[in-house]
Symmetry: C2
């Protein structure tokens, strides 16, 4: 096992009816800005629950945070935070809203010239507005970590940031808040969480049985519960709860400690979203089978472990078992209604060329955290997915 | 899944050489009291590493905290904290030292008349001295939770306490700090962690696949790594590291969220330690097979899951598979050199009578957190272990 530090002070308040406990977790004299997305929370009752729970508090609101939240949009919220002297941000939404709210928290206290430097130059943060979250979509894990990803519309750049001071103080996870989601978002959430685990698991062995088994447990849970929730006509509480908890655990830092992380699938996938607006999870589902295929020899040890423990594949040669695991992985995404070929999304060689040019412009020594994926490997992975 | 709250702000600093980073985690102007046990840290180099890492700090020391730390001993440290105006406690040791130091932290700020009320009456705490830990024995998980167990010598009572303000600020987990431990303590640590998992797992199903698979992953890890570490002539870093991380994860609150916990094995085991001084882990290994046997029908669903996923037992009737899982469990303890019969420890019916009388005196409605073990069940469990 590798050395590591682990710290995660987010208070998780999990279960049905838990939004009613909001009041206990925010200072009574706080000037709160609630942040949200396209307004679905006003239709599904979550907004009303939050407002009822915050009766007596000083609450203002900022809606309209889009998927892959735009720097340009978020900077409007920063203006409100400053002018209204907001001192608590309450994100109500999924990963985009929570990520965006973390950026608002950071940018509102940022003393440099251009807050875009927070993701672009990874400037260390000195202070941030306190924030909490009410989760309405299980997927990104943002509710229990200190990072985010935002997009600059002007340049079509999608970049990440993180800081030890950007953990939410608390996150309320009520699975019932996700009952009204379209099935596409349930599917995307399960796929997103699945790839988050893979990014921290499917690399090189370092003798880390606890982390490996935790990761495998999350993968198996998502494989079991994802299709059930996707198929069900009426939401089943436990299925939604299990996906929600698995998605949170998939990216709160725990399974990634002491092991080799990757994140190449994300680095490549982000570009597909940046250029074509393809759903984040869908881009991951497109890229991952190509990455696995391209690295089937280099990462064979972990791929064989994955084949056996996650998919129960025990027959055939090493090569056959790995090939079967890759087929099963892609089938899992397809089973959730996700189309996993670039062509399915009208993306062709021209986009691949643009992505590769961008990687070259950025002079990336390798894609992701490992040296086994160079820019030319990323190109081959993408061509494999045409 | 049941509703739950989860919060664990302990910073974990894990790996070889990490004690050298101590300085980063304690305020430079702190008045530190380092607390430890019988002095083994002065022989194995850990004390020297700590002192070197704290060069320039104001450090005093309090040694002599025994296994199953005594209230009477700890109150002497409380006197020092008060008279010397100590404002940071640094526990260097295993669960006993860390548990004891949590009590010192609480009792030093306690405004009531008798600090024994902290465990005896579960008085809510208002303040406590900040504490950190350097772990030298993987077992109890105290390094990453907010609870402890202490013993009053005068009355032979062993009781637990916990408070949200008793989390260590940080814990340094260097597996090499455990290299010089006698094999008996390696074995006890693995057994202790194993039963901690069981207490949060082997109850009743509530549809919680994430928690179940995390628990099973820890159990399998302990089954694999425990005997290897016990047998090895020279400590193997990864084996010791994996046991250490498994033991920490076994009792930091995570695997127990949203599921039905038990803790009856501990409640019964504590009495065997209180009356006879038997090692804590050994008492658990004695009691658990009896508890499993006594509840083989009531808890059959989880016992069958345990048999299959942890021990890979798939053949035979339900009853046979459960019986085999119980045999395997006891064999695991025996494999670690732990004797699992009361008779092996010269404990007979007289002690059982005393324990049962004590439970009756305390008017316990049931033993542990579940109503399926009444006082008479505890008696049967113990008689089964004669």
């Amino acid at each position: 096992m590798n050395n590591f530090d682990f710290y995660n002070p987010v208070k998780i308040i999990f279960g049905k009816g838990k939004i009613a406990e909001l009041k206990k977790h925010i200072p009574t004299d706080a000037k709160i800005l609630i942040t949200f997305g396209g307004g679905s929370i006003k239709k599904n009752g979550v907004y009303d629950q939050v407002i009822a729970a915050l009766d007596g508090f000083n609450v203002q609101e900022f809606g309209g945070i889009e998927s892959n939240p735009h720097f340009e949009t978020l900077m409007k919220a920063v203006e409100i935070v400053k002018s209204e002297k907001i001192d608590f941000l309450l994100a109500i939404g999924g990963g985009s809203v929570i990520d965006g709210t973390k950026f608002i928290a950071a940018a509102s206290c940022y003393k440099g010239e251009d807050p875009w430097d927070i993701p672009a130059k990874h400037v260390p943060l000195e202070s941030a507005i306190n924030l909490g979250a009410v989760l309405t979509l299980a997927a990104t894990g943002s509710e229990m970590n200190n990072g985010g990803v935002i997009t600059k519309l002007a340049t079509k750049e999608k970049l990440s940031f993180s800081s030890p001071i950007l953990f939410p103080k608390f996150s309320i996870l009520d699975p019932e808040s996700t009952f009204s989601l379209p099935k596409r978002q349930i599917a995307n959430g399960a796929a997103d969480a699945f790839v988050h685990v893979i990014e921290q698991y499917l690399t090189y062995p370092v003798n880390s049985p606890v982390q490996d088994r935790f990761s495998e447990g999350l993968l198996v849970t998502l494989i079991e519960e994802g299709p059930k929730a996707y198929d069900s006509k009426t939401p089943n509480y436990d299925e939604y709860a299990n996906i929600m908890w698995a998605a949170t655990m998939a990216l709160n830092g725990l399974i990634g400690v002491g092991v080799q992380n990757d994140w190449a699938t994300h680095t490549i996938g982000h570009e597909l979203t940046a250029f074509h607006g393809i759903d984040h999870a869908v881009t991951l589902a497109i890229v991952l089978p190509g990455l696995m295929t391209h690295l089937k020899d280099k990462r064979s040890v972990k791929l064989l472990q994955y084949a056996e423990r996650v998919w129960h594949i025990t027959e055939g040669s090493d090569e056959e078992r790995i090939a079967m695991a890759i087929v099963k992985t892609e089938s899992f995404f397809n089973r959730l209604g996700i189309k996993t070929r670039l062509g399915d999304h009208h993306v062709g060689q021209k986009t691949i060329d643009r992505i590769i040019k961008r990687f070259k412009d950025r002079q990336l020594p390798h894609i992701g955290m490992l040296p086994d994926i160079k820019i030319e490997d990323a190109e081959k992975i993408l061509i494999d997915r045409l």
